[in-house]
């Protein structure tokens, strides 16, 4: 009847105004049946509901779709702030933002309570702040346009890399201040009017801070500008070494997650090939890993050699990607000094360096016993270092009796864990730990969440993926001899065993 209809409508409009739309959806469905009786109801509901959702979703503006939309993507300002949020250095590339923006960033990001859990992109009044940290400094890029965030971060990282190259690995506030003119120069060269320009460290070194590159190989201006803008922007010509050497580091980190029943939930290796080249001239290098695809191709004539199946890899920009895609050879003219040649990922056939067999028994509310067996799964010629095994215990643990065969184990209440440190863990060795815990009774008994056991370690000269370097050939006009050094290290990434 009329009365209820009007009530219903007014009710609805109120609901919409209050944006209780979860309730509306429920209500609408509640009244569908009623609507069968008065069929025009449902259409009104549906209409109102749709309008409401639209409003909630799109804001007030509804635009017409008209092809690709895109924005001019530039950075308006780069700021470097210290821990207190004060501007240490800033360079404004566009007029649409000002130094004042630093204040809002300080209040909303640096001073905010949950500073560590905030996402690295923050929008304050239509201005986007993309930031990253180095030690306790904030590197912030401000923009009012719709940038490609990955690009901006890459730029910020590159910037930090450049500063590291100039000021040392862990440059801090003071060294920044002392070198502020240098940093201004770098800010000007790496970015012009909000667009990244030349960001290659090796080339920047050529013409910024000439003082340190001096004396003999200071290039003539002629060479220099050619170099600044040349095709190979990562290496300058005319580098000379008495001894030609290449250091190759294969650094792998194992990510492992084992369920409480011993099943492997996740095993994966991410590896990096780190190089340090000290080579004369513009040498051409060819680098080979025991990549399964390559080895299979080479040993087609019956000889069976196993290779590692590399799931995916990315390269430093000096590597000729076209060449890799056709025949998977890695060829490049290396930058001078340190750089990361490639990254890779291996998912299958991971050699798990440590096996852990835990047994946890909770006896009543006051006792708990933990037994843990650790087996090193690599060759006895090798050994692991810096092994730290963290075994979580209930929060209300009061006393612990720990017996262990190797290293030192201690209950550390602040971590809620038994921390077992073993400096040197030989290959194929086994060791045991058993702990009896006494628990304090609590007023409100709460189930123990049983966080996973986590392990840290380093195993030199071992790769969990089985990757090894087959060759590195250096071709140069001068035809000199090169010394090559290879080193392998496997570290624990996220190495966790659930109990």
């Amino acid at each position: 009847d009329r009365q209820s209809t009007t009530t219903l409508l007014s009710l609805l409009s109120l609901l919409i105004a209050n944006t209780y739309y979860l309730h509306i959806s429920r209500w609408i469905e509640c009244y569908r049946a009623g609507a069968e009786v008065e069929s025009n109801f449902s259409s009104i509901f549906a209409l109102l509901f749709k309008v409401h959702i639209k409003v909630a979703r799109c804001g007030s503006r509804i635009d017409t779709p008209d092809g690709e939309k895109n924005e001019v993507k530039m950075i308006s300002m780069i700021m470097i702030l210290n821990q207190k949020g004060e501007i240490m250095m800033s360079r404004q590339y566009r007029d649409d933002v000002s130094r004042v923006a630093a204040d809002s960033f300080r209040i909303q990001v640096i001073a905010a309570k949950e500073a560590s859990s905030q996402p690295p992109i923050k929008r304050i009044e239509n201005c986007s702040f993309l930031y990253t940290r180095h030690l306790n400094m904030y590197f912030v890029a401000l923009t009012k346009s719709n940038v490609n965030p990955a690009l901006v971060f890459e730029y910020l990282f590159q910037k930090i890399r450049i500063l590291k190259a100039y000021l040392g690995e862990d440059f801090e506030e003071n060294s920044m201040k002392n070198n502020m003119t240098l940093i201004y120069e770098l800010m000007d060269e790496t970015m012009d009017f909000g667009y990244p320009q030349n960001c290659a460290v090796d080339v920047l070194r050529l013409y910024i801070n000439l003082g340190n590159v001096k004396p003999q190989d200071e290039p003539t201006p002629e060479q220099l500008t050619k170099q600044i803008t040349g095709a190979i922007d990562w290496r300058r010509e005319g580098i000379r070494y008495k001894k030609n050497e290449v250091y190759i580091d294969i650094l792998e980190s194992v990510n492992l997650l084992i369920s409480s029943t011993g099943g492997v939930l996740r095993s994966e290796v991410t590896g990096r090939v780190q190089m340090n080249t000290k080579l004369t001239g513009m040498p051409e290098c060819k680098f080979g890993l025991n990549d399964k695809l390559v080895i299979e191709k080479e040993s087609s004539a019956g000889r069976k050699k196993s290779g590692v199946e590399i799931d995916d890899c990315t390269f430093h920009r000096c590597v000729r990607l076209g060449k890799f895609d056709t025949d998977r050879t890695i060829t490049f003219i290396p930058p001078d000094g340190e750089f990361e040649l490639m990254r890779y990922r291996v998912n299958d056939n991971v050699n798990i360096p440590f096996r852990l067999i835990p047994a946890v028994q909770e006896e009543g509310q006051t006792k708990c016993s933990i037994n843990l067996k650790v087996i090193a799964n690599f060759s006895e010629k090798l050994f692991a270092t810096h092994v730290v095994i963290k075994i979580p215990v209930p929060k209300n643990t009061s006393k612990s009796k720990i017996k262990n065969s190797f290293g030192r184990a201690k209950y550390e209440p602040e971590q809620n864990a038994i921390v077992w440190r073993i400096k040197r863990f030989p290959g194929k060795a086994e060791c045991m730990l058993s702990a009896d815990l006494e628990l304090v009774r609590t007023v409100r008994p709460k189930a123990w969440a049983r966080p996973p056991i986590s392990v840290e370690f380093q195993v030199p000269m071992f790769t969990a993926s089985g990757v090894h370097v087959r060759f590195l050939r250096v071709y140069d006009k001068a035809g000199y001899h090169t010394n090559r050094w290879v080193r392998y290290i496997t570290k624990a990434g996220g190495y966790q065993i659930k109990i």
Partner: protein, 866 residues
């Protein structure tokens, strides 16, 4: 060949000083920034607090600047001023003094003074104008570095009245012999554009910029693209045609890490001429997916998706039945880019991981299921920052399929008890959503429901039980049969769930399914009796609805408490909604002549859902529009650009070129054709015609006056295959012949090389020409674009004669090619004699390359041939 590390005294690649700061401990006198990090305590004084007299003190110091001999001390003085500026202290009073310092040969001092100038020019326009002379003079300096710097400073002064001074040096810089100056000049044009748009239009730089897209140096080209895009923003960005696009794509490997982005961003705007070309572009860009720069990778993904969009078949567009559909193509693209994206997510820094996870999220929406088999990558790691954990937990729900669901649910189950409250909530929600969307396969719904019921009983963690109740409430609506699992603990749960949201959901369930739960009325009664203590309106409304509903199922038990509740609720004025609702129920119950009508309305079982989505979850339209702005902040914020970017910064780029057959109706902005106008007239401008016609002038204005016509001068007949560096078809290899852009040899070298190769080894070709070139310059510039350089050329009475050369990229052998070209005037024909020197020793390969070069030259001179 592998040596283990020798035991001692080897520098480790990981640590140790890099070459740059090897000398850092003893700063060389010439370095302005060589002060060793952290050392030299006196340097700290730059940043000590300023007292009032200090600026004056500085002025005193600056006065001595002129007489100071020591370079180092001079630098110190200027540095001090800059330090003050950095602190935000106004040192503009020193403007005059600083200007005197500009006349120096020391580059470092120059840079600092320029910086000072740029900072304060706006506030001191008169003074700034005085130094323009010096700057203009510097922009003609013999050192290209100084030229570049002066030019940059000149353009950064931001004084509108300066344009008359700047345009001349700018114009000169564009023809400078050094790329550094050219690229700075190009950026300068953009700065000038922002200063004064009218004067800028008069200067007509656009044509020059389009010409400079052929610059041999990639960084100049990069800047040209960026600048053109911004200048032409009003007409949809830089004008694109096939020749330009292919020219840029073929050179893409020359671009620097960041420069490549400018080209990649153009691709989504380009409409390929045909399907084949689309695929070729994708092949050409494929290697970019292996670069370590995630920005470039994401831009490539964006480019791929857009090409797929352009060349894929759509229902009803009447194209070849064999060609793959848009969705298929997009899926293929997603499969291709999956591995690189996962690698970047796994190995990137936290910031990048965060951003890339958002992209992955969007790609999953586009192609559900593509990341399913990599679900372990999205497991939460203990050490990750919270915002990444949260993103991952949200994503995990989308990765569930019958195979992966058990693992994912188990993993989520572990996270429920996390210390982080939000995390616990998200984990429960994700579990709920897996069951709700039926993505877990058979039995998953029930097992998840059981888990949720367990959580409902987790007394210690109030937020989890509340979330579990919410998830269950939705779940029961989707799968009514699981109520048997859920019903038992509900009355109990009502006792200890404290959060309003959870409470109202439990109450809702009690109301819906109360007929089968014996204790339901009593559980509700307890809540009704404590009505005055309820603070949340949501709980009250839920209580009201549930009680009324249960009343129809179990009238004897409910009647009294319903009466009490009605009284309270109708008198409760704290919430309008509740009040109205109570009245509504009251009237409904009282006024219906037949109680069955009220019953049928209230107890209808339309609560269950038939689809696996709630209406508010269906945001496909919104997602499609997000996809349009794929590699931007929109993805991160999950919100359209209009909502957070100011209007003047929004540029609507137009897909080009329009004349390609693949241009789709949807992509082309409606052209204001006369038909629409007449309708508008007839109806007094009130019809839809208005909204169609109104935006068109801005959106569909012809791309540019210089737009479509053959921007690079090498004709539209250039396809990828005949362009300078033809990619070998079938493989991904880019090309087998690649010429250096900066090859240079002297005349003597040329002659000696020419003589060294016998004429027998030379390749000679002659072809007929359609028209003869007007001058030698035309030929030279056409060849120059392909890195074929000119040693000498001349016009004789009967012929043009050219001595040309090119050098291969070192990587391909580094050999030289020497070419003698003769163009006969009378009956136009082209005679080429090509020799190769150095490079490959394999004679077959050499021959191949010579042939390729001949083809290249022919295609370069395409406009005269045939």
């Amino acid at each position: 060949m592998q040596h283990p590390y020798p035991p001692r005294n080897l520098p480790q690649p990981g640590g140790g000083p890099g070459p740059i700061h090897q000398g850092g401990n003893a700063p060389t006198p010439g370095s302005m920034s060589g002060g060793s990090p952290g050392g030299a305590g006196k340097d700290d004084s730059y940043f000590t607090e300023s007292r009032k007299g200090e600026v004056n003190e500085l002025r005193q110091l600056l006065r001595t600047f002129g007489s100071e001999r020591d370079k180092q001390r001079k630098r110190e003085i200027i540095k001090k001023v800059i330090a003050y500026m950095t602190l935000g202290i106004d040192v503009s009073r020193l403007f005059t003094e600083m200007m005197l310092a500009i006349e120096t040969r020391d580059l470092v001092i120059k840079k600092m003074v320029y910086l000072f100038l740029c900072n304060y020019a706006e506030t001191h326009p008169d003074l700034a104008q005085m130094c323009t002379n010096t700057l203009v003079k510097d922009s003609g300096n013999e050192d290209p570095m100084v030229r570049g710097l002066a030019l940059r400073a000149l353009c950064s002064l931001r004084l509108p009245q300066m344009i008359e001074y700047t345009s001349e040096p700018l114009r000169r810089s564009l023809q400078d012999g050094h790329a550094y100056v050219r690229k700075t000049g190009v950026m300068g044009i953009l700065k000038m554009y922002h200063l004064n748009k009218e004067d800028f239009d008069k200067a007509a730089f656009n044509d020059i910029l389009y010409d400079m897209l052929r610059d041999p140096d990639s960084s100049v080209v990069t800047n040209c693209i960026l600048v053109l895009n911004e200048i032409m923003a009003d007409s949809g960005g830089m004008a694109l045609n096939r020749a330009v696009m292919l020219h840029l794509l073929n050179r893409i490997h020359e671009f620097s890490e960041f420069g490549i982005l400018s080209v990649l961003d153009l691709v989504p705007r380009y409409i390929p001429a045909n399907d084949e070309e689309g695929f070729q572009i994708m092949n050409l860009l494929d290697p970019v997916l292996r670069t370590a720069n995630s920005g470039a990778v994401v831009a490539t993904i964006c480019a791929f998706l857009s090409i797929a969009d352009a060349i894929g078949k759509r229902p009803g567009d009447g194209r070849d039945a064999d060609s793959p559909s848009v969705d298929d193509l997009k899926r293929q693209v997603c499969v291709r880019i999956k591995a690189p994206l996962v690698t970047l997510i796994a190995s990137g820094s936290n910031e990048l991981t965060y951003v890339l996870l958002k992209y992955a999220d969007q790609l999953i929406d586009l192609c559900p299921g593509i990341f399913d088999d990599e679900y372990r990558q999205f497991y939460v790691r203990y050490s990750e920052p919270t915002h990444i954990k949260h993103s991952k937990v949200r994503l995990l729900a989308k990765l569930a399929n019958p195979e992966t669901a058990p693992d994912i649910v188990a993993e989520l189950g572990e996270l429920v008890a996390d210390i982080d409250e939000t995390m616990g909530r998200l984990a429960v929600r994700s579990m709920g959503s897996i069951a709700l969307h039926d993505s877990g396969g058979q039995g998953a719904v029930e097992s998840i429901a059981r888990r949720l019921v367990e959580m409902l009983d987790l007394q210690g963690i109030p937020h989890v039980s509340s979330e579990a109740a919410t998830a269950l409430a939705s779940l029961v609506r989707r799968h009514p049969d699981i109520i048997t699992v859920v019903s038992a603990p509900l009355p109990r749960a009502l006792r200890y769930i404290t959060e309003p949201n959870g409470r109202s959901n439990v109450i809702f369930l009690l109301g819906e399914y109360g007929e089968s739960i014996a204790e339901a009325p009593y559980a509700l009664e307890r809540v009704i009796d404590s009505y005055d203590n309820i603070t949340d309106d949501g709980v009250k409304t839920a209580l009201l609805a549930a009680t009324v509903k249960l009343f129809f199922h179990r009238p004897p038990e409910m009647q009294k408490m319903l009466g009490r509740l009605m009284k309270k609720a109708t008198e409760d004025v704290s919430s309008q909604d509740l009040h109205d609702r109570a009245l509504f129920y009251y009237r409904l119950l009282r006024s219906s002549p037949d109680p069955n009508v009220a019953k049928s309305i209230i107890t209808s079982k339309s609560m269950s859902m038939t689809t696996d989505q709630f209406a508010e979850e269906d945001d496909s339209e919104f997602r499609a529009s997000l996809m349009n702005e794929f590699n931007t902040l929109c993805t991160v914020y999950r919100c359209k650009a209009e909502n957070f970017i100011e209007e003047e910064n929004i540029v609507k780029f137009v897909k080009m070129p329009k004349d390609h057959p693949l241009a789709r109706e949807g992509n082309v902005a409606p052209v204001a054709d006369p038909g629409v106008n007449t309708i508008v007239d007839q109806f007094g401008g009130t019809t839809i015609g208005v909204s169609l016609a109104a935006p068109s002038p801005s959106m569909c204005a012809p791309p540019a006056p210089v737009g479509e016509v053959d921007l690079l001068g090498f004709g539209d007949d250039v396809s990828i295959l005949s362009a300078p560096q033809p990619p070998a078809s079938g493989t991904n290899s880019l090309q087998s012949l690649s010429l250096k852009s900066n090859a240079s040899i002297t005349g003597d070298e040329y002659q000696s090389m020419w003589r060294a190769v016998s004429d027998l080894e030379a390749v000679t070709i002659s072809t007929h020409m359609r028209s003869r070139p007007t001058s030698t310059d035309a030929v030279e510039s056409a060849l120059g674009a392909f890195n074929v350089m000119t040693m000498a050329s001349g016009e004789l009475q009967t012929e043009f004669k050219f001595f040309l050369y090119g050098q291969e990229e070192a990587y391909y052998g580094g050999g030289y090619f020497l070419i003698e070209a003769v163009v006969m005037k009378a009956s136009p024909s082209l005679n080429l004699t090509i020799k190769s020197f150095g490079g490959d020793s394999d004679s077959i390969k050499r021959k191949e390359k010579l042939d390729q070069l001949a083809e290249l030259i022919k295609s370069a001179l395409g406009e005269y041939l045939h």
